[in-house]
């Protein structure tokens, strides 16, 4: 099962999730990475769940139309919208309050 390493404001949180997991869904049901992952609409409109992928990005599916629309140039820097991705492999993510 995928191991998620989550960096938030200088702290690191690690947890295991089931295959085919969406981290916003997990946060929404009050499981890891709750309460650390910030999110908003859950529908790819607000970008509050945006995270920078530090490792494991090559295993993710290509950004969908919402991510392309909202993140634009930030995609090249490894940013993704957590509400739009389902995880099947280990991943390391960073979300800082100031930059998300």
């Amino acid at each position: 099962m995928p191991i998620v390493t989550f960096h938030k404001n200088g702290e690191i949180f690690v947890g295991e999730v089931k295959t085919d997991t969406n981290l916003v869904v997990r946060a929404g049901i009050r499981q890891f990475p709750f309460p650390h992952l910030s999110y908003g609409c859950g529908m790819g409109k607000c970008a509050k769940c945006a995270c920078q992928v530090l490792a494991g990005g090559d295993k993710l599916p290509e950004p969908n139309w919402k991510e392309q629309k909202l993140l634009g140039d930030r995609l090249a820097e490894g940013w993704r919208l957590c509400c739009q991705i389902w995880l099947s492999d280990d991943i390391e993510l960073m979300q800082n309050t100031k930059t998300a």
């Binding site: 969406n22 869904v25 929404g28 859950g42 529908m43 139309w65 919402k66």
Partner: protein, 238 residues
Amino acid sequence: MAELMNQADFREALENAIKGKSANKSPFSIAWAEGKLTRAHLARWAENHFHYVGPFADYLAYVYARMPDRYTEAKDFLLSNMYEEEIGGDRHTDLLIRFAESCGTTRERVTDPDNMSPTTRGLQSWCYAVAMREDPVVAVAGLVVGLESQVPSIYRRQTPTLRKVYGFTDEEVEFFDLHIVSDEIHGERGYQIVLEHANTVDLQQRCLKICEIGAQMRLLYTTALFHDYVEGDISIAA
């Protein structure tokens, strides 16, 4: 005689209560997944679906008002569910109307209650009755666990087909995309509330029964859509 179940057994029983009557098995859902519907069929679906899901926040508002004050987490969940349906991002019914318009119908036709079938009116009325009359925990079981939690599995099957087979654009099918995420959250939170607060044999049994009826109602609704609008136009694999 029924006994009080622990949460794991109760959850399994709830899942089983829904499973047998999953709307995935309706002829309309099968025809949809097989790519056999026309845009006109999908337009009729949208015109009906609006009147079932459109008042979802209204249903929940009745449950919210009747949920005991001490169940703060449950009340907060209902409130955030209502907020997300209506003003958290795009209004969900607006996205449904966008899809409907791409199928060739209009906002006016979709919002006109005269365009829903009698069975859809029955489903809508059942939802209101559950929200207003049942114990609020039982109502959450019926509306959220029995109905809303089914949605991700249905749309996960149907959305790729809408793009690949029916040729809709990403924007046109956004209604279906967002429900995969939001209803997964809502369905699971609904389970959490029911598992925690249905703490007597009577409440557990009523929750199981209403989940079964809710799933049955949704199956009835989608089956009627097939009979009312599709049957005669196409045939599907048995």
